[in-house]
Every structure is written in C-alpha cells, then in structure tokens.
Symmetry: D2
Subunit: 109 residues, 4 copies
Amino acid sequence: MNDATLAACIKACLDCAAACETCASACLGEANLDMMRDCVRLDRDCADACRLAATFMQRDSDRVAEACALCLATCRACAAECGKHKADHCQACARACEACADACAAMAA
Amino acid sequence: MNDATLAACIKACLDCAAACETCASACLGEANLDMMRDCVRLDRDCADACRLAATFMQRDSDRVAEACALCLATCRACAAECGKHKADHCQACARACEACADACAAMAA
Amino acid sequence: MNDATLAACIKACLDCAAACETCASACLGEANLDMMRDCVRLDRDCADACRLAATFMQRDSDRVAEACALCLATCRACAAECGKHKADHCQACARACEACADACAAMAA
Amino acid sequence: MNDATLAACIKACLDCAAACETCASACLGEANLDMMRDCVRLDRDCADACRLAATFMQRDSDRVAEACALCLATCRACAAECGKHKADHCQACARACEACADACAAMAA
C-alpha cells in the first residue's frame, strides 16, 4: 500500500479506539444499562485490537496484515452491536467501527 | 529491591490484571448489573495499569517506581469498590487488588 | 476447549510476553547489538500480541481464536529469529515463543 | 480542565506514541545503532505510557492525573535522550515528547 493509505488506516484505528473507550464509559452511565451489556463487552475488545493494529503500523511491523485482520473482526462485531442502539455514543462508535473495518480490510488483504 | 521481591510484584500485577478482566466480564453477565457499574469501570483501568507495571518491571525500565505508583492507585480504588459486592468474582478481584497494591507500594517507595 | 487448556494457554502467553520483554532489554545491552536488530524488533511485536491474546482469554472474548492466530504468527517469527542467537535470553525467549505458539495453535483452530 | 485542553492532551499523547514507535523502529535500522540503545529503550516505555494516558482520558477515568504524571516522566526522559541524536526521527520524537510532557503536566497538576 502507499503512505496515504497507511496513514488513513492508522487514523481510522485510533479514532475507533477513542470511540470505543468513550462508548463503553457512556454505556456504563446509561439508565438502561441492561441492554448495553454486549456493547460494553465488545467495545473493550475493539479498543484493544484497534490500538494494537495502529501500533503495528506505526512501527512498520511484519505482522500488519494479521493485526489488521484481528482489528477487522472486532470492528465488524462491535459495529453490529453498537448500531442497534440509538444513543449518540453508540451510533458514533458504530460509524467509527465501520470506517476502521473498511480501512483494515484493505491492509489485511 | 531484590529479585524475589521484583518477581513477586510482577506476579501480583499479572494476577490482578487477570482478576480484573474476569471480574469485568462476569459483572457484565450479572442480573443486578445496575449496581456493578463502578466495578466494571474501575476493573478496566486497573487491568491496564497492572499490565503496564508488570511490563515495565519485566523490561527493567527506569520508570518502575512511577508505573507502580499508578498501579497502586488504581488497585486501591478497584479493591474498595469490588470489596462491596458479594459475588465471588468481585471478592476475588478485591483480594488480588489488595495484594497487588501492597506489592506495588514497596516498589513505588 | 476445557478450562485447563485455556489456563495453560494464558500462562504460555504471559510467560512469552515476559521472555520477550526481558530479551529485548537484554539485547539492547549486548556488545554485539548489530546482529540483534531483528530480535528486538520481533520481541516488541510478540510481547504485545501475547498480552492481547492473554487478555482476550481472561475476559472470555468472542475473538479468542483470532487473537491467538495473531499471537501464533508473531511467536513463530520471534522464535525463528531468537533461536539463531546463543545468548541465554534469546534461547529462553525462543523456547517461550515455541511453547506459546503451540498453545495458541490449539486455540486458533 | 475544559474539553479543548483534554482533547489537545489526548492528541499530544497519541502523536507522541506514534513518534516513539516510528523512532524505535528507525533506530533499529540505523548504521550506528550502538549509540541508539537508550533511545530504543526509552521509546518503548514512552509509547506505552502515552497510550495508557490517552486511553484513560478517552474513557474519563478517575486516574487521569496519575496516568498523565507517569506519561510526563517517560516523555521528559525520552525527549532528553532523543534530543541528543541528529537523525530526523529522533528530533521529531524529541519534539513530540516535549509537547506531550507539557500537555500532561497541566493534566497531572
């Protein structure tokens, strides 16, 4: 890939990690937390996988494709769950996850 | 400090991180999740701080004291919250946090 | 998998992360650092991937297979490089990487 | 602090983590690696501490001050070392570390 594609993927991963951390904390403050269980659970995994993928890209690792494949999988799952909820933080998180998944799909190929 | 003290502190940090991850996931499956909000919230921070402190000790970092100071603070807060709940995973987490805080206090001094 | 297999894989990942951190720091103190470049480089990735896999298993994530697949790939590469060097920390790291790769292979399947 | 200060500190931490990862990998490719030992060593700690501080801020943790205090300490040490070297990646890293340290100092107070 070229440098612009790589930089865009790193940014998408960092934006998604931020959205997941914010979403998990906001979910834990929601009145209807009972329906947010899976959202918090998936946010945790997705934030960690996004940070690892960004880190591997920043350090020009040999395992960028594999790290992006893991990130893609966590992002798709998190987007599917967050997309079900109307809260702004969930909708923002779902969008960030989809954008990150799309960027990682190109890197994982 | 000597090698045995260092090894014991690394083990206490890794045990605490494991207890926090397990506790957070178990909390998210509890019927009475509403009262577990702070438990999940603090488990997340504590697990991350414990992993960082263990990592800094394993790599013989110059900043072990500062990393253990952060770990100590997250452990005390998490122990105080988890200790309020009767669930086995919360009680086990509170014990692991206290043990880790004690070990880190010696390293942070 | 059963609980004993899971616990053994978590332990293998944590042992490998510790060996990688120790090896990287020890490499950076070696007189012949010039030949240790790839060792340090791969140790960094492997430690991070091992910690993530252990974390996902501890929290009973849906993405354990994918995290272990990434860990397996980083471990094999790190073992191949560290195994070339006679230093005790490199040999210990190569053994920990192989053990972790074997344990992760079962989880990734 | 206000939202703009918080957002600026998160960005400074993420920029610094990126600069440290890039610098460590670039150092490992330098002809004169022998003089870069401490640079790689400190880059590793600084990148990890910066990621943790950013994460704690993104999730609105109770321990932002303590995480930023650790980040400040790793950044100052890394800036002092990287600033000694003429390589572009070291100079860029030193600047990112100084900017991050300044931002974290306000949060840690």
